[in-house]
Symmetry: D2
Subunit: 396 residues, 4 copies
């Protein structure tokens, strides 16, 4: 999830200052259980090393706020632009993403020094009198950007530890189990014109803007997520061996990756085990299934004789759903809303540039930081990816 | 374009018989200018050898009509199922598509014998009294399937000859130039509910079915296609060097493929040359641009400050457009219409299995066989492909 | 096998003229059983389409003899240099070898016209009075070059037909079976100084030159080649599953290619079948094993508690061996003999450029044209290749 | 360099004990300048993370000495066999080498605990009375194995730091410059029988054994290594653009990797800079050229009108050469000496398994630990590798 925002905000200044410090601290908190070594590695191209996330979110404030707008600001290290830049092509040559896992330097302690330096300068800036209301939206964007990376931090940490043969736990204390015991039910909605898209005040990303009418047919959507129990039935019924339920591209993915279960599931001594942030545990049948690709979500729905909802259906129904536990794959491609426009300049440069060959996910997950979810939020990923906290909701 | 159909048809029997012979002959006609060698090669995975198209379309009638329904039918060669099968996984092990270009046997003359055998048996079947009305829709599907392959035949032949260093012409006589001299104009449409999807009698593919309401905002769409002249301006303005106009994935495609012009364009001695079915010729500035990927279409539109239409906008406006010269990239992902259902059995097996990570193209092209186009037709291809006769229409 | 020559020859002119016509005809003879389609395809990068061999050998005479030395010679088609050039980098841009299989044109009949044109011009040249003795060595080189391609023609044809699911036979009449019934025996040779390398008159390639002394320890070498029976014992003893007999790189090759038998062997309905030039047949246990990689030859020898001979041992022992049925893998890397020197100019350009990461094969095979073998001949291939007529002789 | 040994040793017990502690400490010393992060990364498959080297060398003593022979020995962590195993296929499933860089755990401090545990147990074992003379050769093998990894440690650390955009120095104090000011001279040797291979007492690897006679022609060999100055002349004369000097495979390597200088050279602002263990510095023209592939060494020699020596020539001449600064590429393939035999069991398992497609390097380098070089030592690497401290000596 790499995206950006554009907004008019009316949040008061003081509020933002405390939010800044809260959110910045939360990133550090997420990393507290790590060993230094865990900050450095990059097992696959989609995963970034934790220290890169810490540096990159900091670089955002330095590059887009301090450097252009805080008179006399001295860059912490001019080379960091090269190391912590991401996809912002106007800013300069970016580090090839696959190379991030090769960089032992800057060290973790240097990255923390970088964070502290930029945080202190931001505080000085807040109190300097130079900070103008016009910067508030950029600041809020930077904070939402950091929250997005907080979710990625957690998913990437899980990937790093969960792909180590020692299966180290991230936390020893039990993490909430999201049990889902009640009976699921299909909710009915009637044909007609509905409105979707962001409305109201506060922050949103630009891809949510352009509230607009859509025409929906009658549809039904399940109030609950699919559980591990149901997904296991799919596995045991040979779901991964029956091409009829898969997209052609999904079937190729199954074959090439010898996929036969969600990510982190291991069949050991006759039992399905699951690597969780608490370590390796038996699969909890009542939990919502997690870490599945769009291909798997879609094949499961087909096997059930149902389908995935569209994002419009999801949004219309959202207030009746138990959303927030898993990012829910929809059957909507990630495309611009009517009237969507690219922003000018570096921050806006990539608006929309991911709007091809990705599918929309709605909701939020256990890894989403508090205060960073809403029912108009459009998350998106490529169809083969499993490493996010993704799940399935059925529609028909 | 690999797809299938399902329908109830009321076409009279006699009509179908003559259509059968017409369409079958047309495939042979398309191949008439070829040398035997041209039938065999497969320069890239997306291109199939012409003899494979001739065999595969024949295999369809043998496998789905003669074998199950014509009593006493004897298969021409049991091994051909293996050689000419395509993506129908229920029918049996398919030939890996990349291998098609390695198969020197069956020879071209054997493939023609196969066609003649099956055609004769089909005629016998028509007159046998065994042919029932219930087979008509399957027959019509087979004919539409063959027409789709007729278009592919031509695009693949162009690719094979156009990637030979000798640049042999397919036909010496001049092929219609599709000149586009008149002034282009943006047509305006108003916000509201519209209906799209197939309506009426006659054949359609199942992905067109489910005529349904959509809500569209105000939009404008150009009555004409983008010309080579306009596209050349994009090239000369550095369009291929400016990442701001490209999707992130499109930009990677440009870099990796060193893309700098439509397929078949060559910059030779200071002039842009274009390989056409008549051989290598100077680029005709008044012609509609052709052989561009979705990435290029989208980047061009962005550079113009415009966008591509959605498929719903296109269909609503279609009667006012000069469509039929190029397959027109839309900004709609290829997804099921509301209420779309998979069919049972082998023919229906893959219905919908391509509905991921592809974009819809609307209209038809100079390569589309006569009688095989309508304004509800949903063609689809992957975003990087250039080898079809694809073009651009702008919207805003 | 792509190499070159350098020599002083005393062959009489008249002799060469008749050899020219004989050898040129032999290439055409080899292709006589082919369908036109068989001339065109290239299933893997190591295999060239037969028509390319026919054109390339012709191009050699045109480029190195007719064009520079026959006054008034007019090139058949200036584009053919591009199409039929090989690895001679000084001559001009070469066709990327992987692309050879995409070229449907020039057609087979055009290639035969090209051969006829050049052959006629060569005859005119022979009788013109312009042909000087100094060209004889180049002519002889061209003929030996063509003979090398005759062997490749046969190996490539076998690959093309043997990888077609219809398994067409190349010839219906039985091809000699090379039965090997007598008892094998280890021949003993004593420690001491020996001489190896070409000696005497007639043609040789430059890599054979520099007859020189080598010091050999006592060694034993088998008078017979390893049979299919012995090789089958290795397979059945789990030879392909026991890493201890393999080089590390060979073991990776086994794993990656799921190697479990010589090329062309198929285990069908409980029997080992073998694709031969006569079609698919049961494995003949008394025949010398064929179509194995160096990795397999070496693993087999290790499993037998023996080793492969060095090329010096082989040459010293050669007059006592039944060589000529299989190219025999030695454990000698392909490296220059002492005093080896690169030649100047285009013909000599690549002398030695293959002398790295290849192993020497000695002897000759059933595919080697008559008159093209001698006991100093140094053939060489990469260690993973199976498509030549390669076999195993043991030493200790 | 991954190999093994076999030997009869007469070294006294006491000597070995102090050697054990010295050598084990030296590995730790090499790592002292590192940050924790530097221990973890693996930028390319040929480079191993430093902590892996530290663990793997320790694992050797645990697995081959303590576990089988020290009664009551308790393995430090049973999972470490999986993590620190290498290529010893008889010991168990090995970690895929490319994955080593993904393993953040065990942490560096745990690896050091592992070393301390095994060192303490080894000392207990030495004093236990259980240690028998028959284990001495295995112990000595383990120590030589560790010394090989000490050299790799340094080359891998250089690669890790030298491929970081911050170019951190390994050591700030100046590292010896290996200046080479004196005039080079070609030394002459006469044709005849010579002996090569290990002779005498003390340790050697099994690939050096089998002292044997070779017959050499007259040859000349340079007393000095090729300098950066000479190599720069090759670069400036267009050596990397002239295919005539390269092996075909080397030329492909140049093209594919856009090679144009030794590894670690950077052309910055009109100057050739060189990353050294002291950081980025201007190229020192008088130093011996370093970090070149076999392909480059061979092309340079060809450009000079000379050649690389064979390993036999090198060994015969060695006492007259200034060897020890660079591993010197020879033109000898890495093959077994006459009479070479595989050892039984796990330690001996891979003897000889690298004897294909690699070239021999002779001498030693600035990275070779003290006491680990001799003139019969046969180092070997693949022809494209640059990351070792490799250089060039000319012969003719």
């Amino acid at each position: 999830m790499k995206k950006n925002a554009l907004l008019a905000t009316t949040s008061p200044h003081k509020n933002l200052v405390s939010k800044f410090s809260e959110i910045r601290n939360h990133s550090v908190e997420i990393c507290r259980p790590l060993e230094i070594e865990d900050y450095v590695v990059q097992p696959i191209v989609d995963v970034s090393p934790p220290k890169w996330h810490l540096g990159h979110t900091t670089w955002f404030f330095e590059t887009f706020i301090l450097q252009p707008d805080f008179p006399g600001y001295k860059v912490f290290d001019p080379q960091y632009n090269f190391v912590f830049n991401s996809y912002y092509e106007t800013i300069g040559a970016r580090v090839i993403r696959t190379d991030r896992g090769n960089l032992s330097r800057p060290s973790v302690s240097e990255v923390f020094k970088y964070r502290e330096y930029v945080d202190r300068k931001m505080e000085e800036f807040f109190q300097s009198g130079y900070f103008t209301e016009s910067l508030e939206s950029l600041l809020e964007l930077g904070l939402n950007h950091e929250q997005q990376h907080q979710e990625l931090l957690l998913t990437d940490i899980k990937y790093i530890l969960g792909h180590n043969p020692l299966f180290p736990a991230y936390k020893r204390e039990s993490i909430s189990q999201n049990r889902n015991d009640e009976d699921a039910e299909m909710l009915c909605f009637s044909e007609g014109i509905y409105e979707i898209g962001f409305k109201g005040e506060g922050f949103c990303f630009d891809n949510e803007l352009g509230r607009h009418k859509v025409y929906l047919n009658d549809f039904k959507i399940c109030n609950h997520l699919v559980t591990n129990k149901e997904y296991l039935e799919f596995i045991e019924a040979g779901g991964y061996d029956d091409f009829r339920h898969w997209h052609a591209e999904g079937w190729d993915w199954v074959k090439q990756n010898k996929a036969k279960s969600p990510l982190y599931w291991h069949y050991i001594d006759g039992k399905w085990m699951n690597y969780t942030l608490n370590g390796l545990q038996e699969v909890d049948l009542n939990e919502a299934v997690c870490h599945i690709s769009f291909f798997e979500a879609s094949a499961f729905a087909s096997w059930k004789g149902k389908r995935l909802p569209t994002e419009a259906e999801w949004e219309v129904a959202s207030q009746h759903l138990d959303w927030g536990k898993r990012w829910e794959w929809t059957n909507s491609a990630y495309l611009p809303y009517p009237g969507y426009k690219k922003e000018a300049g570096a921050v806006g440069e990539y608006n929309g540039k991911f709007m091809v060959n990705q599918m929309v996910l709605r909701g939020a997950s256990v890894a989403t930081p508090p205060g960073h979810s809403r029912n108009t939020y459009r998350n998106f990923f490529q169809t083969h990816l499993q490493w996010q906290f993704t799940g399935i909701r059925l529609a028909e």
